[in-house]
Each structure stands twice: as C-alpha cells, then as structure tokens.
C-alpha cells in the first residue's frame, strides 16, 4: 500500500475518559497491527501501543484526539481503534449513558 500516514479524528465518549482500562483496550487492539499508530491532541502525538503514553494524554470525556497510522494495515488499524472510541470502550449504558457499577 502506501507509506503516507492515514489520519482521522476520534472523540472520547465515555464519561470516565481515557483511564487505565480503555488505555489497556487501545494497546491490545493497536498491537494486533504492524502499523505505527499514534494518537494525541494537536501536535502532541504519543504511541498508541504504550499504556503509559496513553495515560499521559489525560483525555476526559468530550476530548477530540487525532489518530494516525502508517503501514500496510493502517486502514484496518484506524477502523478498529475508532470503533473502540465509538463504542465508548463499552462503558456507556445504551439507554441512559449511565456508568457501570464497576469501572475506572
């Protein structure tokens, strides 16, 4: 394919923001791909395969993040990761948007 980075914007939808468990989910998903995947606010992009780096973003609910991927499976990588954000990392009650009992 191409070596030019693909890019898209994702939004943190879940009320708890990008805390440890969503960060863990992101790393696990990103690590399935060989593409270099970066995420962050504006110019501050960090490695999407490092939980420690993801937590430095401190991304609260409503934060828009830029997601980039470079590599042969970049398209699939972006799609899989965007799905996690769209699903609110499975932390959004579909009816009311209420937090689950056990979270964070």
């Amino acid at each position: 394919m191409t070596n030019a980075p693909l890019s898209r914007t994702v939004t943190v939808l879940n009320p708890q923001g990008l805390h440890a468990r969503p960060a863990d989910m992101l790393v696990r998903t990103a690590s399935k791909f060989t593409a270099e995947i970066m995420i962050g606010k504006d110019s501050e992009l960090v490695d999407c395969k490092s939980i420690l780096s993801l937590l430095t973003l401190g991304a609260a609910q409503g934060t828009k993040l830029t997601l980039t991927a470079t590599g042969t499976d970049a398209t699939e990588a972006l799609e899989s990761i965007a799905q996690l954000f769209d699903a609110g990392f499975d932390e959004i009650d579909s009816a009311k948007g209420v937090e689950p009992v056990v979270d964070s």
Binding site: V27, L52, L55
Partner: protein, 159 residues
C-alpha cells in the same frame, strides 16, 4: 495536578513487606487508614472493590509500575499513596514484569476528572527513567516523598 494534591505523605511506604497482589493492596489501604484518610469500617469494602477492579484487567501498566485504584463513596476527595517493593510483586502486569512501584488511588465516584489527572501526572512523571529508577531504589518513605516533591517542582521533566 501534582503529587502533593493526592499523595498522603504519612501513608507512603518504602520496603513493602507484601508478596502477593492482594496483600500489597491491603498493606497500602492500611497505610491510608493509619494516616486517617479512610474510615476503618470502609477498609474491607475498599480492598474488595480494588481487587474487583483488578479482575477487569491488571493495573500493572508496565515498567514495574501499577496503579491499583477504585472509586468509593466514602471518600470526599481523591486520596492516594505510594509504595515501593524492593523485590517486586507478581501483579499480572501487562508486560509480565514484577511490580516494584505502586500508586494506589481512591476517588469519589462523581469525580472522574480528578482520577484522570492523577493518572496523567503519574504517567508523565514516570516517563522520566531517572525518576522511575530513583523511586524504585528508595529505602525510606522520606526519600520517596522528597522525590515526589522534586517531581512536583519539575526537576525531572521539562514539559
């Protein structure tokens, strides 16, 4: 957010004695109780809810660091402490490494932002390898506290 905003000095523990995940969590919760940050009658429930969170996925985030935590209605503000284990504890970490450095956090349920900012602060500071190494080598609670103060004063990170 700075360490001083959520780390209780009197609850900091160097040379943790515990050798299992549950024991180290209990030891650090006990430290917060001894420092007067949590209620005695809530202690067991707090330990149980931290353990329940661990079942969802280990908070051992790699590099020998773990951030066991929970929300709990009995606290009015984010409270936390730091513990160091010289030999390390098997914490089912994401990278499989033993954990030497623990940041235990308890936050009020309605304040997810504070929890996020505490995690942000911890992770930003720990990106500095010198800070991380010095913390793990600390032999006394005073040493740990001094390192946290230096980090708060931006002596380890420039940004």
């Amino acid at each position: 957010m700075k360490f001083a905003d959520f780390i209780t000095k009197d609850a900091i523990r160097a040379e943790l004695k515990s050798e299992t995940k549950e024991a180290v969590i209990k030891e650090l919760v006990q430290a917060l109780l001894d420092a007067g940050e949590i209620d005695a009658d809530q202690q067991e429930d707090i330990v149980a809810s931290i353990m329940k969170r661990e079942e969802l996925g280990s908070t051992g985030i790699g590099r020998g660091v773990a951030v066991p935590h929970t929300k709990h209605p009995s606290v009015q503000k984010l409270v936390g402490t730091v513990g160091v284990s010289e030999g390390g504890v098997d914490f089912d970490s994401l990278d499989g490494e033993r954990v030497q450095l623990f940041f235990l956090l308890i936050s009020p349920p309605e304040r997810p932002g504070d929890h996020l900012r505490a995690l942000e602060n911890i992770s930003r500071q720990l990106r500095d390898e010198t800070f991380c190494r010095f913390l793990k080598q600390s032999k006394t609670a005073d040493d740990i506290h001094q390192l946290l103060q230096e980090a708060d004063d931006n002596q380890f990170v420039s940004g």
